[in-house]
Protein backbone atom coordinates (compact mmCIF):
# COMPACT_ATOMS: atom_id res chain seq x y z
CA UNK A 1 0.00 0.00 0.00
CA UNK A 2 1.36 3.41 -0.95
CA UNK A 3 0.98 6.61 0.98
CA UNK A 4 -2.18 8.64 0.41
CA UNK A 5 -2.13 11.85 -1.68
CA UNK A 6 -2.76 13.83 1.53
CA UNK A 7 0.25 12.21 3.16
CA UNK A 8 2.43 12.86 0.13
CA UNK A 9 1.44 16.52 0.12
CA UNK A 10 2.28 16.82 3.83
CA UNK A 11 5.58 15.03 3.23
CA UNK A 12 6.39 17.45 0.43
CA UNK A 13 5.73 20.40 2.70
CA UNK A 14 7.62 18.88 5.61
CA UNK A 15 10.61 18.29 3.36
CA UNK A 16 10.73 22.01 2.79
CA UNK A 17 10.91 22.59 6.52
CA UNK A 18 7.19 22.94 7.31
CA UNK A 19 7.18 21.41 10.78
CA UNK A 20 3.47 21.90 11.31
CA UNK A 21 2.90 19.77 8.22
CA UNK A 22 5.13 17.10 9.72
CA UNK A 23 3.23 17.14 13.00
CA UNK A 24 -0.06 16.87 11.12
CA UNK A 25 1.41 13.97 9.19
CA UNK A 26 2.42 11.96 12.25
CA UNK A 27 -0.44 12.88 14.62
CA UNK A 28 -2.80 10.14 13.37
CA UNK A 29 -0.17 7.41 13.72
CA UNK A 30 1.30 8.47 17.06
CA UNK A 31 -0.77 6.05 19.13
CA UNK A 32 0.05 3.09 16.91
CA UNK A 33 3.75 3.90 16.90
CA UNK A 34 3.68 4.28 20.65
CA UNK A 35 1.82 0.97 20.97
CA UNK A 36 4.45 -0.77 18.90
CA UNK A 37 7.28 0.73 20.96
CA UNK A 38 5.57 -0.18 24.24
CA UNK A 39 5.08 -3.77 23.18
CA UNK A 40 8.68 -4.07 22.05
CA UNK A 41 10.26 -2.21 24.95
CA UNK A 42 7.93 -3.21 27.77
CA UNK A 43 8.19 0.21 29.34
CA UNK A 44 6.07 3.30 28.80
CA UNK A 45 8.65 5.99 29.48
CA UNK A 46 11.28 4.38 27.29
CA UNK A 47 8.71 3.86 24.57
CA UNK A 48 7.78 7.54 24.55
CA UNK A 49 11.46 8.52 24.37
CA UNK A 50 12.09 6.10 21.53
CA UNK A 51 9.11 7.26 19.50
CA UNK A 52 10.20 10.87 19.89
CA UNK A 53 13.74 10.00 18.87
CA UNK A 54 12.55 7.96 15.91
CA UNK A 55 10.29 10.74 14.69
CA UNK A 56 13.15 13.22 14.74
CA UNK A 57 15.09 10.73 12.61
CA UNK A 58 12.09 10.44 10.31
CA UNK A 59 11.97 14.21 9.92
CA UNK A 60 15.67 14.38 9.16
CA UNK A 61 15.49 11.66 6.56
CA UNK A 62 12.32 12.80 4.81
CA UNK A 63 14.55 13.59 1.85
CA UNK A 64 15.15 9.90 1.30
CA UNK A 65 11.54 8.76 1.67
CA UNK A 66 10.35 7.18 -1.53
CA UNK A 67 6.93 8.31 -2.56
CA UNK A 68 5.83 4.84 -3.62
CA UNK A 69 6.37 3.42 -0.12
CA UNK A 70 3.84 3.30 2.70
CA UNK A 71 4.74 6.12 5.07
CA UNK A 72 3.39 4.34 8.16
CA UNK A 73 5.39 1.21 7.42
CA UNK A 74 8.51 3.25 6.71
CA UNK A 75 8.12 5.07 10.03
CA UNK A 76 7.36 1.81 11.84
CA UNK A 77 10.63 0.42 10.61
CA UNK A 78 12.51 3.43 11.95
CA UNK A 79 10.74 3.09 15.31
CA UNK A 80 11.59 -0.59 15.47
CA UNK A 81 15.24 0.04 14.61
CA UNK A 82 15.43 2.77 17.22
CA UNK A 83 13.98 0.34 19.77
CA UNK A 84 16.65 -2.21 18.91
CA UNK A 85 19.40 0.38 19.29
CA UNK A 86 17.99 1.41 22.64
CA UNK A 87 17.68 -2.19 23.84
CA UNK A 88 21.30 -2.83 22.88
CA UNK A 89 22.39 0.29 24.70
CA UNK A 90 20.41 -0.79 27.75
CA UNK A 91 22.17 -4.14 27.70
CA UNK A 92 25.54 -2.39 27.55
CA UNK A 93 24.54 -0.30 30.53
CA UNK A 94 23.45 -3.54 32.23
CA UNK A 95 20.05 -2.15 32.74
CA UNK A 96 17.17 -4.38 33.46
CA UNK A 97 14.50 -3.14 31.15
CA UNK A 98 10.93 -3.38 32.31
CA UNK A 99 8.50 -1.95 34.58
CA UNK A 100 5.59 -4.29 34.77
CA UNK A 101 3.60 -3.18 31.90
CA UNK A 102 -0.13 -3.47 32.19
CA UNK A 103 -0.89 -1.28 35.20
CA UNK A 104 -1.04 1.87 33.17
CA UNK A 105 -2.06 0.19 29.96
CA UNK A 106 -5.63 1.25 29.86
CA UNK A 107 -7.58 3.10 32.46
CA UNK A 108 -10.83 2.13 30.88
CA UNK A 109 -10.38 -1.35 32.22
CA UNK A 110 -10.48 -0.25 35.82
CA UNK A 111 -12.87 -2.38 37.73
CA UNK A 112 -12.38 -5.36 35.52
CA UNK A 113 -9.83 -6.72 37.92
CA UNK A 114 -9.82 -10.23 36.61
CA UNK A 115 -9.28 -9.22 33.04
CA UNK A 116 -6.51 -6.87 34.13
CA UNK A 117 -4.88 -9.65 36.03
CA UNK A 118 -5.02 -11.87 32.99
CA UNK A 119 -3.54 -9.14 30.81
CA UNK A 120 -0.85 -8.74 33.39
CA UNK A 121 0.04 -12.40 33.16
CA UNK A 122 -0.01 -12.40 29.37
CA UNK A 123 2.26 -9.34 29.31
CA UNK A 124 4.61 -11.00 31.77
CA UNK A 125 4.89 -13.98 29.50
CA UNK A 126 5.39 -11.86 26.36
CA UNK A 127 8.17 -10.08 28.22
CA UNK A 128 9.94 -13.37 28.70
CA UNK A 129 10.12 -14.05 24.97
CA UNK A 130 13.28 -13.18 23.07
CA UNK A 131 13.07 -9.98 21.02
CA UNK A 132 13.26 -12.10 17.89
CA UNK A 133 10.09 -13.95 18.76
CA UNK A 134 8.40 -11.04 20.46
CA UNK A 135 8.60 -8.82 17.38
CA UNK A 136 6.37 -10.73 14.99
CA UNK A 137 4.02 -11.76 17.81
CA UNK A 138 3.23 -8.28 19.07
CA UNK A 139 3.16 -6.85 15.57
CA UNK A 140 0.76 -9.43 14.17
CA UNK A 141 -1.39 -10.48 17.10
CA UNK A 142 -1.52 -7.24 19.08
CA UNK A 143 -0.72 -4.34 16.78
CA UNK A 144 -2.44 -5.76 13.74
CA UNK A 145 0.28 -5.45 11.11
CA UNK A 146 -0.07 -7.74 8.08
CA UNK A 147 2.52 -10.41 7.32
CA UNK A 148 3.85 -8.43 4.36
CA UNK A 149 4.17 -5.29 6.44
CA UNK A 150 6.05 -7.14 9.15
CA UNK A 151 8.31 -8.64 6.55
CA UNK A 152 9.17 -5.14 5.29
CA UNK A 153 9.64 -3.67 8.73
CA UNK A 154 11.84 -6.48 10.02
CA UNK A 155 13.51 -6.97 6.65
CA UNK A 156 12.82 -10.70 6.77
CA UNK A 157 11.20 -12.85 4.15
CA UNK A 158 7.58 -13.86 4.57
CA UNK A 159 8.38 -17.46 5.43
CA UNK A 160 10.66 -16.41 8.27
CA UNK A 161 8.03 -14.04 9.63
CA UNK A 162 5.42 -16.79 9.66
CA UNK A 163 7.65 -19.38 11.23
CA UNK A 164 8.79 -16.97 13.94
CA UNK A 165 5.22 -16.01 14.65
CA UNK A 166 4.35 -19.65 14.98
CA UNK A 167 7.23 -20.33 17.32
CA UNK A 168 6.38 -17.26 19.36
CA UNK A 169 2.77 -18.34 19.84
CA UNK A 170 3.88 -21.81 20.80
CA UNK A 171 6.41 -20.43 23.29
CA UNK A 172 3.76 -18.16 24.74
CA UNK A 173 1.32 -21.04 25.02
CA UNK A 174 3.83 -23.03 27.02
CA UNK A 175 4.63 -20.09 29.26
CA UNK A 176 0.98 -19.41 29.93
CA UNK A 177 0.42 -23.04 30.80
CA UNK A 178 3.33 -22.66 33.19
CA UNK A 179 1.35 -19.84 34.79
CA UNK A 180 -1.74 -21.91 35.35
CA UNK A 181 -1.55 -21.53 39.06
CA UNK A 182 -2.01 -17.80 38.57
CA UNK A 183 -4.81 -18.31 36.12
CA UNK A 184 -6.55 -21.00 38.07
CA UNK A 185 -8.67 -18.69 40.20
CA UNK A 186 -10.88 -17.67 37.36
CA UNK A 187 -10.19 -19.67 34.30
CA UNK A 188 -11.31 -23.20 34.33
CA UNK A 189 -8.45 -25.35 33.18
CA UNK A 190 -9.31 -28.81 32.02
CA UNK A 191 -6.58 -31.43 32.11
CA UNK A 192 -5.74 -30.95 28.47
CA UNK A 193 -4.65 -27.36 28.91
CA UNK A 194 -5.87 -23.86 29.49
CA UNK A 195 -8.97 -22.23 28.30
CA UNK A 196 -11.41 -24.93 27.29
CA UNK A 197 -14.19 -23.05 28.97
CA UNK A 198 -14.96 -20.38 31.50
CA UNK A 199 -13.18 -17.03 31.39
CA UNK A 200 -10.96 -18.16 28.58
CA UNK A 201 -13.90 -18.02 26.25
CA UNK A 202 -12.86 -20.36 23.52
CA UNK A 203 -15.34 -21.15 20.85
CA UNK A 204 -14.87 -24.23 18.81
CA UNK A 205 -15.73 -22.82 15.43
CA UNK A 206 -12.28 -22.99 13.97
CA UNK A 207 -11.16 -26.36 12.80
CA UNK A 208 -14.38 -27.69 11.39
CA UNK A 209 -14.21 -26.65 7.75
Amino acid sequence: MASSPEQLELIRRARNGDKAAFETLVAPILDRLFGLAVQLMRNHDDAADVVQEALVKVYRSLGSFRGDADFFIWVSRIVRNTVLDELKRAVRRHEEPTETLPESLDRSLEGKAEQEELQHIVQDCIGQLSVKLREPLVMYDIEGYAYEEISRILELNLGTVKSRLNRAREALRQKLIGQRHRLAGWIEIPDGGVGRSGGGKVSNEVPTS
Binding site: D31, G35, S104
Partner: protein, 228 residues
Protein backbone atom coordinates in the same frame (compact mmCIF):
# COMPACT_ATOMS: atom_id res chain seq x y z
CA UNK B 1 -1.40 -36.75 8.86
CA UNK B 2 0.48 -37.39 12.09
CA UNK B 3 0.85 -35.18 15.17
CA UNK B 4 4.45 -34.50 14.23
CA UNK B 5 3.42 -33.02 10.91
CA UNK B 6 0.41 -31.19 12.27
CA UNK B 7 1.97 -29.54 15.30
CA UNK B 8 4.28 -27.06 13.56
CA UNK B 9 1.46 -25.72 11.41
CA UNK B 10 -1.36 -25.56 13.94
CA UNK B 11 -0.84 -21.81 14.23
CA UNK B 12 -1.17 -21.36 10.50
CA UNK B 13 -4.18 -23.64 10.60
CA UNK B 14 -5.73 -21.24 13.11
CA UNK B 15 -5.00 -18.30 10.79
CA UNK B 16 -6.35 -20.32 7.84
CA UNK B 17 -3.04 -19.61 6.19
CA UNK B 18 -2.54 -22.99 4.53
CA UNK B 19 -3.22 -24.34 1.06
CA UNK B 20 -6.67 -25.95 0.87
CA UNK B 21 -5.35 -29.50 0.80
CA UNK B 22 -3.18 -29.11 3.85
CA UNK B 23 -5.82 -27.14 5.67
CA UNK B 24 -8.23 -30.00 5.17
CA UNK B 25 -5.64 -32.57 6.23
CA UNK B 26 -4.88 -30.72 9.46
CA UNK B 27 -8.59 -30.29 10.10
CA UNK B 28 -9.11 -34.00 9.62
CA UNK B 29 -6.28 -34.79 12.03
CA UNK B 30 -7.53 -32.33 14.66
CA UNK B 31 -10.99 -33.89 14.54
CA UNK B 32 -9.59 -37.28 15.40
CA UNK B 33 -6.67 -36.35 17.69
CA UNK B 34 -7.60 -35.11 21.11
CA UNK B 35 -4.13 -33.84 21.87
CA UNK B 36 -3.86 -31.66 18.79
CA UNK B 37 -7.44 -30.46 19.25
CA UNK B 38 -6.54 -29.35 22.75
CA UNK B 39 -3.44 -27.66 21.37
CA UNK B 40 -5.50 -25.76 18.81
CA UNK B 41 -7.87 -24.65 21.55
CA UNK B 42 -4.99 -23.43 23.62
CA UNK B 43 -3.39 -21.57 20.75
CA UNK B 44 -6.69 -20.03 19.90
CA UNK B 45 -7.07 -18.94 23.47
CA UNK B 46 -3.56 -17.45 23.45
CA UNK B 47 -4.27 -15.53 20.25
CA UNK B 48 -7.57 -14.30 21.67
CA UNK B 49 -5.74 -13.00 24.74
CA UNK B 50 -3.26 -11.18 22.52
CA UNK B 51 -6.01 -9.61 20.44
CA UNK B 52 -7.68 -8.50 23.66
CA UNK B 53 -4.64 -6.65 24.92
CA UNK B 54 -5.45 -2.98 25.38
CA UNK B 55 -3.86 -0.43 23.08
CA UNK B 56 -2.23 2.31 25.09
CA UNK B 57 -2.55 5.86 23.88
CA UNK B 58 0.57 7.91 23.36
CA UNK B 59 1.07 10.19 26.36
CA UNK B 60 -0.21 13.66 25.60
CA UNK B 61 3.17 15.24 26.31
CA UNK B 62 4.76 13.21 23.52
CA UNK B 63 3.39 15.50 20.82
CA UNK B 64 4.45 18.54 22.83
CA UNK B 65 7.96 17.21 23.36
CA UNK B 66 8.25 16.34 19.69
CA UNK B 67 7.14 19.87 18.84
CA UNK B 68 9.96 21.31 20.95
CA UNK B 69 12.55 18.94 19.49
CA UNK B 70 11.50 19.78 15.95
CA UNK B 71 11.80 23.49 16.63
CA UNK B 72 15.55 23.00 16.87
CA UNK B 73 15.77 21.02 13.64
CA UNK B 74 16.98 22.57 10.40
CA UNK B 75 15.20 21.91 7.12
CA UNK B 76 15.70 18.20 6.28
CA UNK B 77 18.71 17.48 4.11
CA UNK B 78 17.79 17.23 0.48
CA UNK B 79 19.07 13.78 0.00
CA UNK B 80 18.56 12.45 -3.45
CA UNK B 81 15.27 10.61 -3.61
CA UNK B 82 16.65 7.87 -5.78
CA UNK B 83 18.50 4.73 -4.88
CA UNK B 84 22.10 5.79 -5.13
CA UNK B 85 24.46 2.89 -5.51
CA UNK B 86 25.41 2.99 -1.86
CA UNK B 87 28.61 1.09 -2.36
CA UNK B 88 29.97 3.84 -4.54
CA UNK B 89 28.56 6.99 -3.13
CA UNK B 90 29.51 6.64 0.44
CA UNK B 91 29.84 10.10 1.82
CA UNK B 92 28.22 9.29 5.18
CA UNK B 93 30.96 6.84 6.04
CA UNK B 94 33.72 9.27 5.19
CA UNK B 95 33.83 10.62 8.68
CA UNK B 96 34.83 7.19 9.90
CA UNK B 97 37.51 6.61 7.30
CA UNK B 98 41.00 7.60 8.15
CA UNK B 99 42.30 8.90 4.89
CA UNK B 100 40.14 11.72 3.74
CA UNK B 101 41.55 14.71 2.00
CA UNK B 102 39.56 17.74 2.91
CA UNK B 103 38.81 18.77 -0.61
CA UNK B 104 35.12 19.49 -0.83
CA UNK B 105 33.71 20.91 -3.95
CA UNK B 106 30.36 22.33 -4.69
CA UNK B 107 29.23 22.47 -8.21
CA UNK B 108 25.83 23.94 -8.76
CA UNK B 109 24.17 23.14 -12.01
CA UNK B 110 21.77 25.75 -13.13
CA UNK B 111 19.78 25.24 -16.24
CA UNK B 112 20.75 28.65 -17.54
CA UNK B 113 24.44 28.04 -17.17
CA UNK B 114 26.69 26.46 -19.74
CA UNK B 115 28.95 23.61 -18.76
CA UNK B 116 31.65 24.70 -16.41
CA UNK B 117 35.01 23.32 -15.52
CA UNK B 118 36.15 23.73 -11.96
CA UNK B 119 39.57 22.96 -10.73
CA UNK B 120 40.15 22.06 -7.11
CA UNK B 121 43.29 22.14 -5.05
CA UNK B 122 45.66 19.28 -5.72
CA UNK B 123 45.19 16.14 -3.65
CA UNK B 124 47.79 13.47 -2.84
CA UNK B 125 47.74 10.15 -4.59
CA UNK B 126 46.07 7.19 -2.80
CA UNK B 127 43.89 9.34 -0.64
CA UNK B 128 40.13 9.40 -0.55
CA UNK B 129 38.59 12.66 -1.56
CA UNK B 130 35.05 13.65 -0.72
CA UNK B 131 33.30 15.54 -3.46
CA UNK B 132 29.86 16.98 -3.06
CA UNK B 133 28.16 17.56 -6.32
CA UNK B 134 25.16 19.79 -5.95
CA UNK B 135 22.43 19.88 -8.53
CA UNK B 136 20.34 22.99 -8.28
CA UNK B 137 17.01 23.47 -9.98
CA UNK B 138 14.23 25.99 -9.48
CA UNK B 139 11.39 23.48 -9.72
CA UNK B 140 10.93 19.74 -9.20
CA UNK B 141 12.22 17.74 -12.15
CA UNK B 142 11.21 14.11 -12.47
CA UNK B 143 12.78 11.29 -14.49
CA UNK B 144 16.29 12.59 -14.52
CA UNK B 145 19.31 10.47 -15.33
CA UNK B 146 22.45 11.12 -13.36
CA UNK B 147 25.78 10.06 -14.69
CA UNK B 148 29.16 10.42 -13.05
CA UNK B 149 32.29 9.48 -15.00
CA UNK B 150 35.84 9.44 -13.75
CA UNK B 151 38.87 9.79 -15.98
CA UNK B 152 41.77 7.33 -15.98
CA UNK B 153 43.55 8.11 -12.73
CA UNK B 154 40.46 8.21 -10.50
CA UNK B 155 38.41 5.44 -8.92
CA UNK B 156 35.23 5.33 -6.87
CA UNK B 157 35.62 4.12 -3.32
CA UNK B 158 33.49 1.50 -1.60
CA UNK B 159 31.87 1.72 1.81
CA UNK B 160 35.06 0.52 3.47
CA UNK B 161 37.07 3.25 1.83
CA UNK B 162 38.75 0.96 -0.68
CA UNK B 163 38.95 1.86 -4.35
CA UNK B 164 36.78 -0.22 -6.66
CA UNK B 165 37.32 -0.94 -10.29
CA UNK B 166 34.53 1.31 -11.49
CA UNK B 167 34.75 4.62 -13.20
CA UNK B 168 31.22 5.29 -14.22
CA UNK B 169 28.00 5.19 -12.28
CA UNK B 170 24.58 6.22 -13.45
CA UNK B 171 21.10 6.10 -11.98
CA UNK B 172 17.65 7.53 -12.41
CA UNK B 173 15.89 9.80 -9.99
CA UNK B 174 14.38 13.17 -9.57
CA UNK B 175 15.60 16.58 -8.58
CA UNK B 176 13.64 18.48 -6.02
CA UNK B 177 13.39 22.22 -6.13
CA UNK B 178 16.44 23.74 -4.52
CA UNK B 179 19.73 22.02 -4.14
CA UNK B 180 20.24 18.27 -4.19
CA UNK B 181 23.64 17.22 -2.99
CA UNK B 182 25.15 13.98 -4.18
CA UNK B 183 28.17 12.96 -2.14
CA UNK B 184 30.80 10.99 -3.96
CA UNK B 185 34.10 9.65 -2.75
CA UNK B 186 36.92 9.10 -5.19
CA UNK B 187 40.60 8.31 -4.97
CA UNK B 188 43.47 9.29 -7.22
CA UNK B 189 45.38 6.11 -7.96
CA UNK B 190 48.20 7.79 -9.83
CA UNK B 191 49.48 11.30 -10.35
CA UNK B 192 48.01 13.41 -13.11
CA UNK B 193 45.36 15.96 -13.91
CA UNK B 194 42.14 13.94 -13.83
CA UNK B 195 38.52 14.93 -13.88
CA UNK B 196 35.07 14.01 -12.67
CA UNK B 197 32.32 14.52 -15.19
CA UNK B 198 28.86 14.90 -13.69
CA UNK B 199 26.01 14.82 -16.16
CA UNK B 200 22.35 15.26 -15.53
CA UNK B 201 19.97 14.39 -18.33
CA UNK B 202 16.33 15.08 -18.90
CA UNK B 203 14.86 13.90 -22.18
CA UNK B 204 17.11 15.30 -24.88
CA UNK B 205 18.68 17.89 -22.62
CA UNK B 206 21.82 17.43 -20.63
CA UNK B 207 24.04 19.48 -18.39
CA UNK B 208 27.59 18.48 -17.81
CA UNK B 209 29.99 19.73 -15.21
CA UNK B 210 33.63 18.94 -15.19
CA UNK B 211 35.54 18.93 -11.95
CA UNK B 212 39.29 18.84 -12.44
CA UNK B 213 41.17 16.98 -9.75
CA UNK B 214 44.95 17.30 -9.86
CA UNK B 215 46.53 14.31 -8.14
CA UNK B 216 50.08 14.70 -6.83
CA UNK B 217 52.58 11.94 -6.39
CA UNK B 218 54.26 13.73 -3.54
CA UNK B 219 52.57 12.68 -0.30
CA UNK B 220 54.88 14.56 2.05
CA UNK B 221 52.12 17.04 2.85
CA UNK B 222 50.24 14.50 4.90
CA UNK B 223 46.85 15.59 6.08
CA UNK B 224 45.69 15.18 9.65
CA UNK B 225 44.29 11.75 10.31
CA UNK B 226 45.79 10.38 7.14
CA UNK B 227 47.10 6.89 6.79
CA UNK B 228 49.70 5.84 4.27
Amino acid sequence: MKCQQAEPILGRFLDRDLPAGRFAAVGEHVRTCERCAARVDELQWVVAQLKAQPHPKAPSELAARLHLRLAAEPVPARKPVFDIPRSLLNWPSLGLGAAVAAALMFVVLRSSQPSVGIQVAAVPVDRNVGVQIAFGVDRDVKDVTFDIKLSDGLRFVDAKGQPVNTQEVSWKGELMRGKTVVPVTVRGIRPGKWDILAIVRKNQMARATQIIVPVQGDTSSVLPGGEG
